[in-house]
Symmetry: C2
Subunit: 198 residues, 2 copies
DNA sequence: TTACATTTGCTAACAGTGTTAGGTAAAATC
DNA sequence: GATTTTACCTAACACTGTTAGCAAATGTAA
């Protein structure tokens, strides 16, 4: 009964051909330009074959997102295992999270839906105007030692990152985990930021 | 010579009709389902008329993104003006940023490209697995007082927000502002977080 | 070996999308 | 009144995701 097994193997081959071709496209041109027809063309099968393996286009992208989560998890775990002290562990995990995201941008984009067609050109949008207000306040909040401009700029970026991170996580989740918890997280993060200004 | 002026007014009317119809669609069904044809249908003009007012679809969305930045800027400025103390100003600005984003989700999405088709269903992706590792480290890093689970969970969310915010800002920008600055921001934010654990 | 059933893969279509070329009729200018 | 300009539309091009229906190849049973 090796025949059906060979069949299964060949089916699996097609499936992984779809995935590898799709992933190459996503890496090279971004997830927005992934197309079922282009995949079919590349693996030299007709279009409906793809629908025998994946319910739709989104399912293919979800596959990559999940793979991204698995990879990230592993990296974070490995980073943690290199240290004993919990504070060092946290720092190492933050580092590995950071490294993973920047070395695997397309994974991260798929995982968290970051980056759209709009505003990718860079100068398409006027960017922020609030940077001035925030920086001014930071400048005054920092103890009157030297407070060089670079330091203020750094603190501004930190402040903004905290805000943006919290907001974009909150905005993504369909189930509103609990509005109060999120407000507490915001306050907690801002509190920590302010304390660390000193 | 009021004729040409009336003409200009009427042209402006069409333009704003496009924008208001488009904005309604974006608000109701998300930016991904905005369609030139649907706009044309709604304003009772043919499709090419829209291209007399906007270079392409992206330009319409960019219009909204810019409007979002203007609105956010104003909100942040107003929040700041309500206080004198810089620390209170920072807290108020964080609050207003937060409120703006959650009350104007579609603006924020357009401004920063948050949220994609994929993973919007919620359970489409397995979400994270690293939450366990991080929470465990946090639990051990917190002074051995009470450390109720809620507190650990809160700290985990803060930690993650900081990471995600920094990463997604970094990933979006086309011009790599300076890799070193970003690494410093990460370290700064993590440092502040750890200090605030006590 | 023949008859039926299943799997496999295809063509072709449906219903959309953004964008643009080219033509017509009305309005403004000369 | 003739001519240019503007406003606007139809129709097409080149794509997209998705699916219905058919044909051939294969596997199973009588």
């Amino acid at each position: 009964m090796g025949i059906t097994e060979r069949r299964l193997r060949e089916k699996e081959k097609v499936r992984s051909a779809i995935l590898s071709t799709a992933w190459q496209m996503v890496k090279e041109e971004g997830w927005q330009s992934l197309s079922i027809r282009k995949i079919a063309d590349s693996i030299e099968y007709s279009v409906p074959v793809i629908y025998d393996h994946f319910e739709n286009k989104e399912a293919i992208l979800a596959e990559f997102a999940n793979e991204g989560f698995r990879l990230l998890s592993k990296k974070v775990q490995q980073a943690k295992e290199k240290h004993k002290d919990p504070v060092n562990q946290l720092k190492a995990m933050a580092d590995s999270y950071w490294n993973f995201a920047l070395k695997n941008r397309e994974y991260y984009r798929l995982m968290y839906g970051v980056g759209m067609a709009c505003c990718e050109g860079g100068s398409l949008c006027d960017k922020e105007g609030f940077d001035y207000f925030i920086m001014e306040a930071i400048k005054r909040a920092i103890p009157k030692s030297k407070q060089p401009d670079a330091h203020v700029c750094l603190k501004y970026h930190t402040f903004w990152s905290i805000l943006h991170g919290l907001v974009s996580i909150k905005i993504m989740e369909s189930s509103p985990v609990s509005g109060e918890l999120n407000k507490m997280v915001l306050d907690d993060a801002v509190e920590g930021f302010v304390k660390n200004l000193a």
